[in-house]
């Protein structure tokens, strides 16, 4: 069956091939360019590349709308001195940069091109953008074995910082701050369900809430607008269920993508387990594959990206083996 373009006889649209005369060569391929663009732009990078093999005109459209993301760079802190290394995995190249302003600091979190750092000796907390070397100081905070996260770039309107400190098995303290404020607001919350908070927590910001995964697999959510904290009635994912101190080598990583939360667990098996949070049914659903996503796992802040060019797509990438 031929696939003819329909055309309205009673309208004239300037950008159409209305008066193009006989088109014998294109007769079997009569999808208007803008329709083809619309269809191909919905494809993942992998499907887009395959579509370019269909024919020459598809190649032109596929290439013109192709979006390929580059994997995030890895930043290495020097043991001595001020020479920081940045590794670009797509080019397998290392760049070095002297950043004396970061002396004595350690990294807390990274997101949207910004780093959150702290200086343990002075209790200083600050944002740093390695591209522009812009620095944004925040009020001081005493950090004890805890992870600090932020919702979005500090230059955005609704940036909030969040950290959670273990007080007792039934009480946690949540500290929040917004850039420009003069102090952190610290509030204690009673937990109906036990929540053991530690340096091994994983925190992501998703749909307006900070989700915090504890080392035992419990997950809590903090809403910075309503200032509410709840431990969700979601059982731990299968491979985190039997946590013990002897499993210190086990690691789990959590990241957000497009409104969904994913965790990657490394266990004794060769391949890591991948789970997606199903909030409606209160379960972690095991995933067979990452599909078009790439999971960049990191102890402090992991990240999920789609449409990564090359072999590392659809994989879990660890920053060190």
């Amino acid at each position: 069956m031929q696939f003819h373009a329909c055309r309205l006889t009673e309208t004239t649209r300037d950008n159409r091939r209305v008066s193009s005369g006989p088109r014998e060569k294109q007769a079997e391929f009569d999808v208007p360019m803008e329709v083809l663009e619309l269809i191909l732009s919905q494809l993942s990078l992998r499907d887009n590349i395959r579509a370019s093999v269909v024919c020459k005109s598809w190649l032109a459209v596929a290439v013109s709308i192709r979006r390929a993301n580059r994997p995030p760079w890895l930043m290495f802190f020097p043991k001595y001195g001020e020479l920081y290394e940045f590794y670009d995995p797509s080019r397998r190249k290392i760049y070095r940069l002297e950043l004396p302003e970061l002396r004595g600091s350690r990294i807390c979190y990274a997101k949207d091109g910004w780093l959150l750092l702290c200086r343990p000796d002075t209790r200083g907390v600050f944002f740093f953008c390695p591209y522009t070397r812009e620095m944004i100081e925040l009020p001081k905070l005493r950090l004890v074995d805890q992870i600090v996260a932020f919702s979005s770039a500090p230059t955005s309107l609704n940036c909030v910082l969040f950290t959670i400190e273990h007080v007792s098995n039934s009480v946690i303290a949540i500290a929040t701050c917004r850039p420009g404020e003069t102090r952190w607001s610290i509030v204690n919350y009673d937990c109906c369900m036990p929540f053991y908070s530690s340096i091994r927590n994983k925190i992501v910001f998703c749909n307006g809430r900070f989700f915090c995964l504890s080392v035992t697999g419990a997950i809590g959510a903090y809403d910075p607008e309503k200032c509410t904290w709840i431990v969700l009635s979601v059982g731990p994912p299968k491979c985190m269920m039997f946590f013990s101190v002897h499993h210190y080598w086990r690691a789990n990583f959590m990241a957000e993508h497009d409104g969904d939360i994913f965790i990657v667990c490394t266990c004794s098996s060769i391949n890591p387990f991948i789970y997606k949070l199903d909030l409606v049914h209160g379960v972690w659903v095991e995933m067979e594959s990452l599909g078009d996503m790439t999971f960049f796992a990191n102890f402090l802040s992991s990240r999920v990206m789609t449409d990564i060019l090359g072999k590392i797509g659809s994989n879990v990438c660890f920053s060190k083996v």
Partner: protein, 167 residues
């Protein structure tokens, strides 16, 4: 439901237009539904004619587009209901049907439906063999075997690790 509100003269009274498909069937459509198509709106603004002939859209496709337009012109339906209607509208439709729909909605300039149909087509095309795509779109491969092999070689990773489907 058309009310006499501030929407302007076009929708002030419940007027109808007749749309004729290329196979000659005629459809009576309320003007409030017809104007959701930018092309039909332009025609109605330019001339008084209440009969619009679409020489390239067949019966089956036109009936589907009109069902969509009428649902979206119904002020009694919530946006949520309309959204779920859109999803049901494209689900389960054959690829062949979607091809004609996407062309018709592009011609009639029903942007939202055009986008929804294109997205559904892309979903179906996911993980399909190149040969499948060529067959469905009736496209002649105009590459030389060497040129095609070269493109496949450049991004070999896009083919290497998945079972591709041919139906």
């Amino acid at each position: 439901m058309v009310t006499t509100d501030e929407k302007g003269p076009l929708t002030a009274k419940k007027k109808s237009v007749i749309i004729r498909s290329c196979d000659g069937d005629e459809f009576l459509v309320s003007e409030s539904a017809a104007v959701l198509s930018t092309s039909l709106k332009k025609i109605l603004e330019e001339k008084e004619d209440r009969l619009i002939h679409l020489s390239d859209i067949d019966n089956k496709t036109l009936a589907m587009v009109i069902a969509y337009l009428s649902t979206h012109a119904d002020d009694g339906l919530s946006d949520d209901l309309k959204r779920s209607f859109d999803q049901e509208f494209v689900s389960g439709k054959e690829f062949d049907v979607l091809k004609y729909l996407v062309l018709a909605t592009d011609t009639l300039q029903v942007t939202c439906l055009c986008y929804t149909v294109a997205k559904k087509m892309a979903d179906i095309m996911k993980n399909k063999l190149v040969e499948w795509v060529r067959r469905e779109f009736d496209i002649q491969n105009d590459y030389t075997p060497e040129a095609e092999a070269e493109i496949r070689r450049l991004d070999a990773w896009a083919w290497d690790d998945r079972q591709l489907e041919d139906d």
